[in-house]
Symmetry: C2
Subunit: 358 residues, 2 copies
């Protein structure tokens, strides 16, 4: 087991990465301060791992299990209210701990429930998808979606600890595994060129889910994320580089009403657009865009927006993005592979030139 | 105009108290950092003051007005979602500012919307009821209610500034004015015996709504609240003394489904119960309880729970209170007039003895 730390002063916390953490009889239990626990999962993950998690949290005076339907469309205010209904019906107090077992949807909605329940209670992340392990479980961003925009309602609320059990990746469907790899590739592109090279060299091992390769990819991803988050917890500045491809990707997800493409798939297509725009500005070479497309295609990820999504729709949806500041769209581009930057000078003409070409 | 400060490091903010602040052409406008503003009010207050507020915020690139129905029952997740619907439809960005114009309900729900919208935007409080001016607009507690408990879903989110226009109190119905006085009396009881004496001496002037007396009562209340909040922003300890009477009061409100009694009325009856319990423990004299009952009765406030509410119902509802920590009910009692303390050793027998007597 390896341990990383997210350094955030009094909100610092450990990330444990290893095999069979869910079978450790003490690790998770030792991070639950009180006698009350709420386990939140979905109907896909719960049948696989909820028994193990229940054992891992140990005997508690009050234990409530909340199982949501699986899917991005359930990351909603309605499901959030259902969590509150259940916790309040069982009378959990301010000293309870919420534990998220599942992917990004479960982590985000559980974290937001923890941020708001009685104005804030503790929570733990037990991510079981690659996407959640390398991205959404670390950094304290929590949210639910609104029909007019993704992650529009949320809070910054750091977990008390993150437990990444590599073994859970073996049960992940291939499509979701690939979607997680999109975020792994992102770290290479934005801030870690050697890691990007490593990914190109080790893609076969990763796709075969060799445990050593998985552990390496997860650990280097989390280390990059932890460093970026520690420098800028509330995204006042450079944390935004973690959104490479996300402004385009969120537009794709919103256009489809969530759930058609997976988040990682939309991000893959969005990253290609961001690199194409970077190349259009002459910052990176066209061959570098082609190399990314080859890497993502090799993982089974899309490298272009869905059929039928046009420039007008992109521009309309992107103007609602959270990263719009006083009317100026902020985008993450690459100055070179391994070095992202944030721009707010992308005009509609420039975007239209890009989007009408794809 | 007088200015108080809530000292919270980088989250510090001013409270402006005076006559006709809403007619000042610069004061409020100068505290809005961006070009986007959302004014939130209710259908009772908006017809009286929204025009003035619109002038006070000045010209903005984007201005949205959200008018909710008046009443505690609308401090709900459903109305919160309606606020998000409206802000998102008008495409407010992360740099928008929400302005709450109204009583405690509007301040609490608007503050919570500001805490969650895109994970946190700025907000201003323009409280127009006595209760909001002396209590809920200061201190950063925001929330909505759940059918199983009051203020169960919320966040700590400090306003950027609070603007208390004393003149708005002239339009306040007598019953609401009296409800606000309950919270004013609270400050005297918990931490300011000289102020409690001043209130007893100046009750006639207050009930006549003499402006000098109102300004004095509001300012001393806010100064007490600001001091308590500055010492303990997130209620890890002594901030809880601000909840004198609230555990009993919330039980009354929940039992009635909100809106039957006003919050301040429930708190008045709850404070009497808290003082009776303090007297039952021998900490204060029976005459001091009687003096409080006389003061509150003189203001037209209830001094006992509603007819038909019995000990069992109180004990059931109080056990769901946010102030329950691992099964122990925490109550605010008085060691003497002007000195509150927090106890967690009140057993069911002791409570039953109290509640079966009233």
């Amino acid at each position: 087991m390896h341990t990383l730390h997210v350094e955030l002063g009094e909100r610092s916390y450990p990330i444990y990465i290893g095999r069979d953490l869910l079978r450790d009889p003490r690790l998770i239990a030792s991070h639950i301060p009180g006698s009350q626990v709420v386990l939140v999962s979905n109907d896909t993950v719960a049948p696989l791992y909820l028994d193990r998690l229940r054992e891992a949290v140990g005997e508690r005076r009050l234990l409530t299990e909340v199982i949501l339907p699986d899917g991005e469309r359930y990351k909603s205010l309605q499901q959030l209210e259902y969590i509150f209904d259940r916790i309040l019906a069982d009378r959990h107090s301010r000293s309870t701990t919420l534990v998220a077992l599942g992917g990004g949807v479960i982590g985000d909605i559980t974290g937001f429930a923890a941020a708001c329940y009685q104005r804030g209670v503790e929570f733990l992340q037990v991510p079981t998808t690659l996407l959640a392990q390398v991205d959404s479980s670390v950094g304290g961003k929590t949210a639910v979606n609104h029909t007019l925009g993704k992650n529009m309602i949320g809070a910054f609320h750091q977990p008390r600890a993150v437990f990444i059990d590599i073994n859970t990746l073996h049960s992940l469907p291939a499509r979701e595994f690939a979607a997680g790899l999109a975020e792994v590739v992102k770290y290479g592109l934005i801030c870690d060129a050697p890691f990007y090279q490593w990914l190109q060299d080790n893609m076969a091992r990763l796709l075969a889910r060799e445990e050593a390769a998985l552990a390496e990819a997860v650990e280097r991803s989390c280390a990059n994320k932890a460093r970026v988050v520690a420098d800028d917890e509330r995204e006042a500045g450079m944390r935004a580089i973690l959104n490479l491809g996300h402004t385009f990707g969120h537009a794709i997800e919103t256009a489809q009403g969530y759930g058609e493409w997976l988040h990682g798939e939309a991000i893959a297509a969005g990253m290609v657009l961001a690199l194409q725009l970077s190349a259009q500005r002459g910052w990176i070479a066209g061959e570098e865009v082609a190399a990314l497309e080859e890497l993502l295609s090799g993982m089974g990820l899309p490298v272009a927006p869905p059929e039928g999504m046009h420039a007008d729709q992109f521009i309309d949806l992107m103007s609602r993005d959270k990263k719009v500041l006083d009317g100026r769209l902020r985008l993450v581009l690459l100055q070179e592979i391994g070095q992202a930057c944030i721009v707010d000078d992308a005009g509609e003409d420039e975007l239209r030139a890009l989007l009408e070409r794809v």
